[in-house]
Symmetry: C2
Subunit: 492 residues, 2 copies
């Protein structure tokens, strides 16, 4: 069974095949850069990172495009309100583009911490105004859009398939009181694709309709097509963007190009914090930077970025995920368990005897690989995939404890940790902080030397010296543990 | 005496005053992102980083804009050849924007390593096509540019002041054989501001003159004006860009806006490696990433990024700088000396007795500050400014050696290191790798304990044990040094 993904368009799992053999184009809705990323962003970008990683694991050449929204996203989705970035920029007394730089950089820092592979192209909305204007021109020429007073609106009635992604019905939407009629719109469900700018609006550009700026939905249609073509394999985003954002993208792109826009629509579910929707008023709005240093009253400690990642992978991308201190704590323990095992395995590997790979271990590894791929092929069941890593942890710990385990056997286990836990899930690292390691080695040698001194002192019945060594090591944060076959040590 | 800067336009040092009191706008020509940065980039961006830092030290609110050239820079400066990024992209089998992402990221990584403060805005050329088209339109409307076959050329004869920055004379340039006549140009010195794109050119945009792309010089005029206004305080760049790049910027901006474009033109000088111009054929082309890990046959070791920074600051920005392994080695020693002193000072500070700041030290510090500012005010004489840091090193080491030195005195010295060496020169760090520090402390405690064991063994005439301790420490990379007042240790 090959990779199956739940396609929001058909509302069922479908076997994934790219349009062009061996190559996949994927577009994911990126952040609006007017603040630091929060836990919700982590769920989104970790989910799609795993999809991209798994596609590459399967041998596909993936072009991963994820936009940066630095203009056009209004505070109110219904074409009204202020530009989110311009509003925050005024508050911060900065040029909107200076503000966008700050939060774009912050975004990438956080994503690097979460071990998300950088997109191949991270196009900025403000950097593609000309492409957006061209798209608006096409839609006007083809009769799908109309200009009123310097703004251009999409004429939803002209696109019969409007609603096909979200399953909404235009008549019902109009009947429902949710959409305010606007004097400029022919139909209350019509949406702005170009907005006339007031003279004091900082971000505005010349267009055939006068000075203005693009509607938010427009950038994704324009940039996805520019970098991935008129029909793209996969488009990802949050469920909350299915309507109106993605519905509008489809209407724009398909009306302009006359071909299907997206073959697979993939939507991830929302996050809650302590069971509630995240919101500044509830004081449960936790940024990633706060989580990574533990600077939020809902958190009892700092959490490793990769522990946050592991918590996200513990649940399915299409399920809601509840962040809580307890859930993070548990994910952190799991993450530490995997990490410690991989480290121990790699350390042990250096001194293990040479020899062939144990055939029963090889068989077990093959079974693990199959289970892992079956889980991932089933719409990216990362929680089952993670459970395979824990099976690998158990096998590793047994093998490390057996003196006869060969280096090659351990290397085969390490290889599987690296491929499945590292390349695909992004939880296992290729190298663990090297420099600290060099110093650790020196500490190991020094403690070993002191343990020897202490043993000699004890042999000579010089218990005062022996105890002094133990006490001073204790003061340096090192605890000795006497065992039948010698003395071990650990950090306090 | 206030800050004086050498203005390339007047060819003399002038007192710097911004146009708007308290606020400075500075634009610096950024990299063309088609490869990793080399030592030449380091000289450029460190030089302007120190200027920005010093302006902020003086209390100015600085808007620092530095562009990213991701389109339009041709392999041949004279309007011919291929687009540098498109050419490299074809070679790498990547979309030009994917290639630009890779090297933009690499650029910022290297600049972060060199402790260059990020610009407030890093606008991309490809993200400002519309602004560039508007500028071309204005120049055509005002009669400063003409269209031929879908390309637009700047009519140099129309701009009487062409040559005022570089001191070149148009007639002489034409007479000199350097410029090939082009059938489309009215005058061989005319330059393209918009180039018609062939159908297979990947990067092209619609314009009033058909599909094409902007001339390289255009982006800086368009983006400087967009983010800093029609007249900007400072424009920086390399001497090699004075002509034609900056001369063309002036021609474009001043013709379009009718006001002076730049008040202070600041140019840094070139770098050589081992006395020769850097070039791939000479095998002396050293990227920053190579220097930071020592991966180049011209280098005997890896160099701390801040040692590279220190070497750059050792010479004046307007002087040529020769990189060599020996020069880097010397700069590295100087950097280590400052670093070790600051670390020792801060460590000592924790346990020093409380008390008032020593008045003679306070006087010395005031003198140092004056000398430092005088040097920096004299067209950023960083080499003299650095010498003040070394005076501070000498004073610090004396003070650390005296038991009566108060915590407040040491704090005053530390404050000066932080302000002058940190805030302005970017050589002294606020914090030195905290985590490794924790481990270092354990190593210190353990080695101390072993030194004690060895001393006891020697006292008991047990020289075999004493030597064994020394040998085993040596094997762990730690060398003991017996001194009259005890035993010190250091890493090998």
């Amino acid at each position: 069974m090959g990779l199956h993904l739940h396609n929001s368009l058909s509302r069922r799992k479908e076997e994934f095949k790219p349009l062009e053999e061996g190559r996949v184009g994927i577009y994911v809705c990126g952040p609006t850069v007017y603040g630091h990323c929060h836990l919700g962003h982590a769920k989104s970008y970790v989910s799609f990172d795993v999809l991209v990683r798994y596609l590459r694991y399967l041998g596909y050449t993936v072009s991963y495009v994820q936009n940066i929204t630095d203009v056009g996203h209004l505070t109110d989705d219904a074409d009204e309100g202020e530009d989110k970035i311009a509003k925050a920029a005024v508050k911060a007394h900065k040029h909107p583009m200076a503000l966008a730089e700050i939060y774009t950089r912050s975004f990438f820092e956080d994503m690097d911490q979460l071990n998300c592979v950088r997109p191949d192209i991270s196009p900025r909305a403000s950097g593609h105004i000309i492409e957006q204007i061209e798209l608006v021109k096409t839609l006007v020429e083809k009769g799908y859009a109309y200009e009123v007073n310097g703004s251009v609106y999409y004429d939803v009635a002209k696109f019969a398939e409007y609603g096909k992604l979200s399953g909404r019905n235009v008549e019902e939407m109009v009947a429902g009181a949710r959409i305010e009629p606007s004097p400029d719109k022919r139909n209350p469900v019509d949406f702005a694709i170009w907005k006339k700018a007031e003279p004091n609006h900082i971000m505005q550009w010349p267009s055939p309709w006068g000075m203005g700026y693009p509607g938010w939905h427009l950038e994704c249609s324009a940039m996805a097509t520019k970098y991935l073509g008129q029909t793209i394999d996969i488009h990802g985003g949050g469920l909350e963007n299915q309507f109106p954002h993605h519905e509008c993208e489809i209407a724009q792109s398909e009306a302009a190009n006359g071909v299907p826009f997206v073959r697979f629509w993939i939507h991830h579910n929302m996050v809650t914090v302590d069971g509630q929707k995240m919101g500044k008023s509830l004081n449960n709005f936790i940024t990633l930077k706060q989580a990574f240093v533990g600077a939020h009253e809902r958190l009892t400690r700092r959490y490793e970025p990769l522990a946050v990642r592991q918590l996200i992978l513990n649940s399915h991308y299409r399920s809601p995920l509840d962040f809580s201190d307890a859930a993070l704590f548990a994910a952190n323990s799991g993450y530490q368990r995997i990490t410690e095992t991989v480290k121990a395995l790699r350390k042990h590997l250096k001194t293990a005897p040479e020899g062939a790979v144990d055939s029963s271990v090889a068989e077990q590894l093959a079974t693990f690989k199959t289970r892992f791929e079956e889980a991932m092929n089933d719409d990216l069941n990362t929680s089952v995939a993670l459970s395979v890593l824990f099976d690998l942890v158990r096998v590793s710990n047994t093998l490390i404890g057996e003196a006869s385990t060969t280096r090659e056997t351990l290397a085969a286990v390490d290889e599987q940790f690296t491929r499945l836990g590292g390349d695909v899930l992004g939880i296992v690292q290729t190298e663990y902080a090297e420099e600290a390691g060099a110093n650790d080695e020196a500490v190991g040698a020094l403690v070993g030397l002191l343990i020897e001194q202490r043993a000699n002192a004890r042999k000579a019945k010089d218990f005062a010296t022996a105890d002094a060594v133990r006490d001073k090591l204790d003061a340096a944060g090192i605890v000795l543990e006497d065992k039948p076959d010698g003395t071990d040590w650990r950090w306090k």
